[in-house]
Point group: D2
């Protein structure tokens, strides 16, 4: 998490202030439940809310206490006692640090997921808008970086829309994975705390009670969460790479928006580089990498060890902040993407007519030529276009074997572009529900 690639709303989730506020709420909600159960006095619970709710926690003071105790939750509770006074002894009754830490982490991850969901929604809206705008903008489809057959730029964007719609589903599932609360005490047996406290705190925080925890909330949940972020980052990378390709000098079918004051190169003033999408490519590598330690975190020893903690202190903020930034940046790139339909056409026609080769192949087989022969006939004419810059249709018209099977009119009909876009509406209906 570095400022250059961070947005304040997500960063705020991971601030010490936010963390201590969530800790306080967990403790205070637990006090309410404990008071309701008669374990602690109701006035104590009320006092805790009143004095703690009004207070600003002093991060520096908590850090100071932690330096002595080497234990962060004890440091916080000591500071809380400084604020709340004698009633503070009723706080944390029967609980263990992990009850606070793990429930807090999940609250933070859920909030992070909510921002990411909003990010994806923003991206989907941008993609949809641009997809409809370019639904009929014909462009060459490429496999292996080589011209294949025509498609439309709108279909490219519809594909991205469908992909991020899937990412949205996955993110929703990932959010549910971590939306749990554990207030189960040491080793998770509820020996010192009634399970109803957990149920109360969970309900108040919008979480589900963890069915069985062992002091810690099981880390397979978090592994799944971060793995999902890694997959979403990989989809960010895919679209970023697509745009980088389209902006190549020789292709130039689309371009990141280049603001007036911007400089592409300290040495070469003419350069307009796809630096945002290149940046996204790198950010995706990072978010993806965080999936690995998250998975290694699953195999904690017995009821818990704390090896997961340092990992999560890093990837909790880093993965969510970086992906939030990346999604927002990608949304901006899509919204402002400069599209060059003319270049799309020019590129498509670079190899004169070659993109229609498959139609000719099919026509030949339907006219009774064996598949093997048809392939050979088409290929020998295609190679002349590829290597000598000839016009494909003219070569076919001049090939006696081809003409033996197909008339001039039949051949010319195979070079109609509309043929390739006739199902774009179908695709749009599938993706967007309407075309």
């Amino acid at each position: 998490m570095i400022p250059r690639y961070s947005r304040p709303e997500m960063v705020a989730i991971w601030s010490p202030e936010t963390k201590f506020r969530i800790w306080f709420e967990i403790e205070a909600h637990a006090c309410d439940a404990l008071a309701e159960l008669g374990v602690i006095p109701k006035e104590a619970a009320r006092a805790i809310w009143e004095r703690g709710g009004a207070a600003e926690f002093d991060v520096a003071r908590i850090d100071e206490i932690e330096r002595e105790t080497k234990h962060d939750v004890i440091a916080f509770l000591t500071h809380l006692a400084e604020i709340v006074g004698p009633e503070a002894r009723f706080v944390h009754q029967g609980m263990t640090s992990s009850d606070v830490l793990d429930t807090c982490l999940n609250v933070q991850l859920v909030r992070a997921a909510d921002i990411l969901l909003a990010d994806v929604d923003g991206l989907l809206a941008a993609l949809k808008k641009r997809a409809f705008e370019h639904k009929d903008t014909v462009t060459i489809g490429r496999s292996h970086g080589i011209h294949a057959e025509p498609t439309t730029f709108g279909v490219k964007l519809a594909l991205a829309y469908a992909e991020f719609a899937r990412c949205r589903e996955r993110l929703g599932a990932a959010r549910r994975e971590v939306a749990t609360c554990a207030i189960s005490g040491a080793v998770g047996t509820f020996a010192n705390i009634d399970p109803r406290v957990e149920e109360h705190v969970a309900a108040k925080l919008g979480l589900e009670p963890e069915p069985v925890s062992t002091q810690v909330i099981p880390r397979d949940r978090h592994a799944m969460f971060f793995a999902t972020l890694g997959v979403i980052a990989s989809s960010v990378e895919r679209l970023a790479v697509e745009i980088r390709h389209l902006q190549r000098t020789e292709v130039l079918e689309a371009e990141e928006y280049f603001s007036p004051g911007q400089k592409g190169s300290s040495a070469m003033p003419h350069k307009r580089n796809p630096v945002l999408t290149e940046n996204l490519t790198g950010l995706a590598r990072m978010v993806r990498a965080f999936a690995m330690p998250a998975m290694e975190n699953v195999a904690l020893w017995h009821e818990r060890d704390i090896s997961h903690s340092s990992v999560e202190r890093m990837i909790g903020p880093d993965a969510t902040v970086t992906l939030d930034f990346a999604l927002a940046r990608l949304t901006g790139v899509v919204e402002k993407l400069v599209v060059y339909p003319d270049n799309m056409l020019k590129n498509m026609n670079k190899f004169r007519g070659l993109v229609h080769s498959q139609r000719v192949l099919l026509a030949l087989t339907q006219a009774g030529v064996s598949r093997e022969d048809a392939y050979r006939l088409v290929q020998r004419n295609a190679m002349k276009v590829w290597e000598q810059g000839k016009d494909f249709l003219e070569e076919l018209l001049a090939d006696d074997d081809v003409r033996a099977a197909l008339s001039e009119e039949e051949l010319r009909e195979k070079f109609d572009l509309g043929y390739h876009t006739k199902h774009v509406d179908t695709i749009f209906r599938r993706v967007f529900g309407a075309a």
Copy 2:
């Protein structure tokens, strides 16, 4: 995928024979749809099913053709033509290789997922049986590898059950991710093939039509699939590590079943090593590693490149075969696990009474001692147990400051084991629906 860590049913999914059979079915179902649409003769479709359905495809012959054409689907179609005869020219009309390859891969992954789901079911059954068997087997819970408070061995297994129940959910979601079919032709525009062909083939194969494909089925689906396998493998590792710990010489609370003929060491005949769970630890590392290239596969160039293919030829079989083997092995370990309740008790009592320290702490605070003072009182007596082997209860009884707050009776009551297990039924009801 190596024979030592493979089971035949999963291996069979990835054999050339299975693959060519699925290819044939995709092509033949497509022919049915094409015939229905009037694109090819109905008799051709019928002939293809009849002759191809009856035939054994000759893998060696297909390989031979591929060596010349350097294209696997063309090689298969050529061989199919050798079997079917002239009607073969109607096969693959308007389709592209990826239609066959990608749909086939997804059929294989779905079948693999079905086996994995059955594996997880088997594991869940074993865990449930052993969990109820040991619901009340008291054992020490450990955090940081250090004795914490009592729990039961059944709770440990209930935790594993809940974890693998989550894995089952995730696996179901992963299965849905890849249960799609694409018959959309070059660059996915349906230019040469009616979308209804895709719908027909999908329905016949139990798949959903891919809303928008670009020659390839988007690889974010497969990234999510393999990432999920990595998470499940991490849960396998967690339980394996737990068992390895329990089998340590100094702990010996549980042990992998050791068959009569087995030898633990060529040098030391007394050794009984947790080799199955150690093996599972290593296998988990592999399955987890496969998530990374699967995620890198997402960013294909433009409408497709084939860089994903070599990765999938490896991890398709390797990840599924290895995880299948691991789940089955883990199930066997759980089913036959030798549990030593006596050792559990002996270990728990190693530090005489120390596991009850928190209860004493709570009792002191409830008796009006400040949290800080109570902590100090408990710790100074606990340290004598830890360092000098004293009995915790006796030390407390002899501590005047403690006695000023708590009577002998009150102190003795804090050393009741049943206190820690009183909510085991609650936990079981949450996990299994019944206790």
Copy 3:
């Protein structure tokens, strides 16, 4: 390791036959040393070499024994006893299985490294040849996929040469990392075997004695080995990606050799796809992924656990076989790469004169214009070339502010291509020692 991406020489290293032969040699060399030390009879050592040296080990028989004993080395020793007779009881005296397994693995990795070193040498030779062939073939250098300034195709290949020369160094270091031998007995104390046995076996096998082993050879060595393979694979990917870019339809500056019978697409006969380099991209992802479990293997428990074993049974062959195949394939691609110097020139001139923008910028500053002003002057003319297809030199000549600083002659001189290639010889001398 799958046949499609395997070469026989590397595969042979990992066959059971090779493994058992190496096991035998380790045991037999150890017997020699033991006999020399008087621990076992010299005739026994001789008999073991004679009968074992002549024998073919029966892999199926060994597997059969292992199924009962569940221990591979014991199974091998039992089979060896069937061959050698009563003297077999002197085999493996004071040794432990890991002495055999770990030393064997290192012998295999050293042999694999030797093949990989030869592979890299082959690649270096191909790169050098093509680099000198195209030392003066001018092409546009690109940053961010955007035209930057001219370079030569030879310099591109010199860069790859320098990179793989570094890889060769790293591979040599990696080979040294794993060229160790351990015959130190259970937990590595030499309690039951004299350290001189280890020294003898090491010398005979071309290895160094492991200074301190604990039954196993420390796995940080293997982590470093596989991490190095991952880095080399990443360099393979870099060059593969470069070639894929050059073969793009719009660029077409170089192309993988396309053999006469080859078919690029089942649907589109004109296609010539960079399938080899795409394949290399995928293979690189796999080799890279194997570094991660190799690193996780380092943290074995106490003196050893066997979790590393399943990982190494997979990545030992998979990483080395795949990288061997990839290096050989890349060498073939480089050797036969079809280069299109005409297209390189055509592409370079796409934006008429723009590649000379930096020279003009420098000339302006040297003529006394401030850097900021010079940048603005150059950029405003560059943008007209970029956006309206104007000729850069003509625009500059017509710009009064530019002309106030630079004469026509001075401007024209800045458009000389030779200016950019004048240090190619320097670069070649640095890389190859000669130009």
Copy 4:
């Protein structure tokens, strides 16, 4: 990089202040060389050193300029001009941003490597001291977590010493990998800058000139650097895991130092947890994870793209700061590790005499019993110790088949502990050069 796991010296390397100072030095050294070559006036070079050398660069001002230009090096140069005045126009002549950025990154990595080398030296010193202190402290060696045969605690530490001595070698190699300088201009052709400038700057900064760069310094160097850090982190994890095991309640052979004020648990005052080594386990996961994006960074497009940059802005600081912290923490743990030799003996004797089983096995075979029979004899007695707590020696003495081969005296001699430690001096000599 988070404060909790950071040390100031390493953090300082990555501060904006340090970065801009290095940028300045690169530019100023280049000016010296340019002045020497007569390209710019000597007085200009002098003025740049004088005014820039004395100035504090204003990070906030540079950030402000960057927000407009969206280019960090231009922003810096603009600010430098504000400080230096008109001579600033001679700065950066013929250079490109990457010349500054990449050379600076390598200076930072080299400085980071120097700190890490010092860290490893500190760790080695601590390991050596404790190894000699415990050279003869007998402890049980364990394979698979199961008691194997005796070794000494000093040997365990000697192993760690040898491992980190290897890490030191690797780190030295990694340092050399990145100790290069590139001042080669756009696309690396030296078109606008004489190679002697690069040579001068390299010499002044203690670097080697990069033989061939393409605007960027090739990223295989950095991949190797970060992969090496990942391997070292894995060795940190290994030793951390060893200590965590030794501190387990049931083992308690060694313990992290526990300071007086420290609290192990908010709930359980008796707990002393190995939290430092658990923390190291997590930190190792992070450093290891960073190897993956570093490897993905290698395959930049053509002469450069900037996708590597965001990755390096994160992992440059994160990997070096985290590993520095981890090595320092591990050194502290080793230095202050509390060792319990009595517990080591107690644990070793848990299974009465069983650790001597192999010696008995060997004695039986040497007495003429076949290996298979000897194994069976030993195992049947060993199992009685394991399962019924019998004494191994007594069981053997009472076994007629054993006694038929070995006398009582011969048997008793096999139970001598000194037998296992007789080669400890040999091992120490190998590792430390002296015993």
